[in-house]
């Protein structure tokens, strides 16, 4: 079970980086050849007027720019979880190091949540400016997950201390 999950996370992380590279290329194209994108934007989003097209373009650029820091956060989440699962597979889940890993996952998820908020703000603004609806809804789930991860890190720290005591008991 651990082995399969580790592989799923590994593949997910590769996809994460492939996505990040593709979005970076798109970002470069959007910035270097913006005038080529304007007709395509007019067609794809059915928006009229220079300002509306400009708003859609800005939204696209912002989304691409957000993807890179998000990919870094997601990389931290996946790599730490993989390391934690590897330890769990050999019965060494409760350690000080894994408590730190969970904390790192918590911080990374907080980063993702903040980026999601920024994305939401840009979407709301772009929707208003262009007349095209860029879907985004606020969700508390991610914020609760951050809290849960920090608490879980504390639990792991307690577990590590208990384990250490138990190992010294004869």
């Amino acid at each position: 079970m651990f082995g399969t999950t580790i592989w799923i996370f590994r593949i997910a992380n590769w996809l994460n980086w492939i996505g990040a590279v593709l979005f970076t290329l798109l970002l470069a194209a959007l910035l270097l050849a913006s005038e080529h994108f304007y007709p395509a934007i007019t067609q794809a989003f059915e928006v009229r007027g220079q300002e509306a097209v400009r708003a859609v373009w800005t939204w696209l650029v912002s989304v691409c720019a957000i993807v890179v820091p998000a990919a870094i956060c997601i990389h931290v989440i996946f790599t730490r979880l993989i390391a934690l699962l590897r330890d769990a597979a050999i019965g060494q889940a409760f350690s000080e190091q894994n408590a730190r890993r969970l904390k790192a996952v918590g911080w990374a998820l907080l980063g993702v949540n903040i980026l999601d908020l920024i994305f939401g703000q840009i979407s709301v603004w772009a929707s208003a400016a262009s007349g095209e609806y860029f879907g985004w809804t606020f969700s508390l789930t991610g914020w609760f997950a951050v809290l849960l991860l920090f608490l879980l890190a504390k639990v792991f720290r307690e577990g590590a201390a208990m384990r250490e005591d138990l190992e010294g008991t004869v």
């Binding site: 201390a161 250490e164 005591d165 010294g168 008991t169 004869v170």
Partner: protein
Amino acid sequence: MPTEDTSAIAVRLDELLQDRGMTLTELSERIGLTLANLSILKTGKAKAIRFSTLEAICRELECQPGDLLEYREDSQ
């Protein structure tokens, strides 16, 4: 949580074994504790001792818990 490397509680297992002419391996077989765990106890690296372990050692070595454990003030 502060960790203490040196404990004032000394384990006198070595002396007891010597007096009774018993080896650590023999004792470990008699009380059903692994040699590794018994070594931890002997070298004073143990953090805690179970009553069941204490009971078994006292039974096999025919001694009192006070014979096995000693409080040394100077080692702190």
